[in-house]
Assembly symmetry: C2
Homo-oligomer: 579 residues x 2
């Protein structure tokens, strides 16, 4: 059975989900529900541990790719604050590009089914054999909690990968493989056979970020590879292991199926000597996928030409609180989302815009100071107990985030009110973990330089606006100017909701209205929620629209006079198409 046949039923369900955008996933949403979880979980942890070296003896992560110049690695676990002591191959870039280019023709010549089947198999192998290994690798590089690493960086990322395959297939299937074309020119009848082929653009470079590597990487890689391109993965030097494991799986599955494994390679750098600009501007780079900072992302968008760039950067995600039937439920939901993974997610809200006069509730107005105080209290509740704090806050990926918290707390004291001061919490499992409870500041809308733009980490602002309309206008204007992926509005007024929908649709932040309860507000579901619109500086690429895949390949055609033997077949296919 071909790999395509093996995965055909699943792919069909995924196609259906992408059309309907209902809730669907082939994967269990919690680690405990994974088939054979009791055995798989400790096995995954052992596999992770087996990668680790020691100070006395660093360990090499073997990757049989060409051009290795040196072995480097500088990952430090946010949970232990100890180096992982893993070295990865540092490759000569020209060698990687040459190997990738050499590998492309046979891959591009394979039919769509072969590529889709193989890439579904890659996802399957990751799921069956490496999911918990990657879960631990994400924990000890990105700092995510175990459950989030499993869900957000594991199964949801796999879902995003399948979704990218669905759209890549849809874009390629829009191109028929062959046609018969027949027309009279004067008295002559011209009959042509035409063939069309999907031609990949070339070598894609996929940048992955420190805090959430797989979630964007897997779909980007799937989109490029499905359409016949090769991919060089450039992980953030702080978070290499999840991508190194991924690259090894891709290479293994490719080689097993008789394709050149150099279709997927790893290009590693160090913080001291970054290679990002060289990769983007390499003459053989045809596509760039980038997840990371706004600053470098905008440089990529501007300088990638002639390569095409697909970016997701960041923004200040916004909340507008106009009115609520159950303000406590709203504040609990907001508090949970502000705490989740210490707001180190590109979808975490940061700026809460409120009318100065407060929020309307069935019991009357709740003053703005009161709203801020109660929200801070809800966050405090969530983070008071270390075990609960650990589950929700997890660890802080980078020491820079702690420095930013300190700096913003000082600025907040000077220019507004500190609603909640950050402090380390003791992680019950990892006493050395880099942790912090959130910083919450109350400011007036004139402190825009403080809150506009992403402040990465557990930092939020309650911003006093003149009115609900002003809050909405400020929030959506900030999104347009500084970027924003998600937005959250609470209102009991349908007309206000409609205005919010319009304002955020144009600003390009994906809006959630009046959500409370068990679902994390910023949860983005594959097959259903579009991630990034492309309408503001938070990125130009959406997971997953046709625009994310359709320019990754071109269409070449060939036509020639029809041969006699092709007449009958063609007439059968074509006859109802003529007028």
């Amino acid at each position: 059975m071909s790999l395509y046949a093996k995965h055909a039923a699943l792919l069909e369900q995924a196609r259906h989900a992408c059309r309907q955008r209902h809730c669907w996933s082939p994967y269990p949403d919690m680690p405990a529900k994974y088939p054979g979880a009791e055995q798989a979980q400790p096995e995954g942890e052992r596999a992770f541990v087996s990668h680790l070296g020691t100070a006395a003896q660093r360990r090499r992560f073997e990757l049989d790719q060409p051009g290795t110049l040196a072995w480097i690695g500088e990952e430090i676990s946010p949970y232990t604050q100890q180096p992982l002591q893993i070295d990865y191959p540092q490759a000569d870039l020209d060698t990687l590009f040459a190997a990738a280019q050499h590998a492309i023709p046979a891959w591009a010549d394979a039919d769509i089914e072969s590529r889709l089947g193989l890439l579904m198999e890659v996802l399957e192998v990751i799921y069956r054999k490496h999911l918990f290994e990657i879960t631990h690798a994400v924990m000890h590089t990105a700092g995510q909690s175990y459950n989030m690493a499993y869900a957000g960086s594991g199964v949801n990322a796999l879902d995003r990968g399948i979704e990218a395959l669905v759209y890549a297939e849809q874009a390629m299937r829009a191109v028929t493989g062959s046609a018969r074309w027949e027309r009279s020119f004067g008295p002559s009848q011209i009959r042509l056979e035409k063939t069309y082929r999907v031609v990949p653009r070339g070598v894609a470079v996929c940048f992955t970020c420190a805090s959430f590597p797989t979630w964007n990487a897997w779909p980007s890689m799937m989109a490029s590879l499905a359409t016949g391109n090769a991919v060089i993965v450039k992980p953030h030097p702080a978070t290499v292991l999840p991508m190194a494991i991924s690259v090894r799986v891709f290479r293994h599955v490719l080689a097993e199926a008789g394709f050149d494994p150099d279709l997927v390679t790893l290009a590693l750098d160090t913080r001291a000597e970054p290679i990002g600009k060289r990769l983007v501007q390499h003459p053989k780079t045809a596509l760039v996928d980038f997840t990371g900072s706004v600053q470098f992302g905008q440089w990529v968008e501007k300088n990638a030409y002639p390569a095409l760039a697909f970016t997701e950067t960041a923004g200040s995600n916004t909340v507008v609180l106009e009115s609520a039937d159950d303000l406590d439920a709203v504040l609990r939901s907001l508090a949970t989302t502000l705490c989740m993974f210490s707001a180190q997610m590109c979808t975490s809200p940061q700026n809460i815009y409120d009318p100065r006069q407060g929020v309307r509730t069935p019991d009357g107005w709740v003053g703005l100071e009161d709203v801020g105080r109660r929200l801070a209290q809800a966050v405090r509740e969530l983070t008071r107990e270390p075990k609960k704090a650990a589950m929700i806050l997890a660890a802080i990926q980078s020491p820079q985030t702690l420095a930013l918290l300190k700096q913003l707390k000082t600025q907040g004291q000077e220019r507004g009110t500190v609603l909640l001061a950050p402090e380390p919490y003791p992680h019950p499992q990892f006493p050395q973990a880099r942790t912090s409870t959130p910083l919450m500041l109350a400011v007036s809308k004139s402190e825009r330089d403080l809150y506009a733009g992403e402040r990465f980490g557990p930092i939020s602002f309650v911003i006093a606006c003149d009115s609900a309309e002003d809050a909405l206008a400020q929030a959506s204007a900030d999104v347009r100017e500084f970027g924003g992926l998600t937005a959250f509005v609470y209102s009991t007024d349908e007309a206000f909701m409609a205005r919010a929908e319009s304002a955020y649709a144009r600003a390009g932040a994906q809006l959630t209205i009046n959500l409370t309860g068990a679902m994390p507000l910023n949860f983005a579901a594959a097959y259903s929620d579009y991630h990034v619109t492309g309408l503001n500086p938070a990125g130009n690429a959406s997971l997953t629209s046709l625009a994310f895949v359709s320019s990754r390949f071109c269409i070449s055609q060939s036509r020639r006079p029809a041969r006699a033997d092709s007449t009958e077949r063609s007439l059968q296919g074509d006859h109802h198409g003529h007028q």
Copy 2:
């Protein structure tokens, strides 16, 4: 009946044609077959003549768009070499952009059917009321023959417009309008209603070229408008009238349907004071469609950011002659294509790569000198008789082309052999027409600086290569480096054809193999032939692939807890989607 309903059956046929890529068009391919041609043709000519002014009294082309600063026009008919004496409004650009932006929201809020129906109506109005008027306008600006202006700039361009609508619709329909999403989080069941909307990028600027304005303009405008954007048309100052008539039709149909006509406006400049760069880099420009020179096209691609650029420029289209069963038929077809509209088409071949030893035929080898001589003779045959010459060569759009012919003839004499020297031919209908028979040079492949890149006009090179393989290698390498839209290979060797298909597929030129007879070799059929691949410097946008349309809009979404009344409807739509 809505406009969508009015055009639904036609649109469905077009969708089918785009899927199957067979021959289809709702339009007659020759002027004489136009319904009521006997009356329509003279009416069209009268309508054209009514636009013309005189030296004593220039005539204004009224266009009720805002921001008119002055009235300008510098068109000269290539057939009479007299000014058309038409003035068009020269607009303040900021006013046009502001008006376009103001017009977008209502247009974007209209549903897909409304936009598609209205745009089909625009094409219908052009076809029913303005086709022969535009035919004459194209003749007396671009210099095309009457038949070509009717077909290539008329009905084929309308076909390309419908085709763009089909793909725009396909890309937008891939986004469902709403969904119901339901999942458990722990013990809680979360039910969300989601809505998705297509959000246009903003204002598109559409540059049109001097020699073939409508063919790229109409599909580009359709692609932008269908997806909710506004369009500012920037015609080449030498060829304004066909686009001014088009813009007026768009505006009229938009206004009739209650939309803001400022969704389509005209921005005119002069050769002395071009506004192209200002338009591309205007802060409100979101999309740029460009047809024109390689040089400015590459500047556009590089400098449009943050706007997205779609370009078609030019290249050196190539021919490889390896072997032929009927060499005379091949040479006749090549000669016809070299002459057609004096090779002022982006698809006209220019460089003919031949093995030094000649071409294999059933009667033995025909030496290269002989091939060149016979090809020149075939061209001479076609152009000897003025009436026939006029039909095929038509007129030379720009005086610069005559200067280039002169210059290349001199260089050809020095560095190769002049197979055919250009000379004016007397146009039977327009004695003052700017005309020239073709220049044909024979050179060795080392004269690459002479032939590589587009030499615009009736100029071709027979290039001596070491072998057939060398000819194919040189030709496809030149395409990759300098660009190329079309390629033509003649061979009786299936293996050679297969190698040619692979080489040109990667180089990105659309290949025609062994075509002889009545069909012009470089004829590109809407719904069937992809025009430009995006794989080489001849342009980055293909007419029409999903990539041409799918990034012209973004997707915004909104989600909220499901309301009770939506349950039943949604369950009906969704139940078979759940596992």
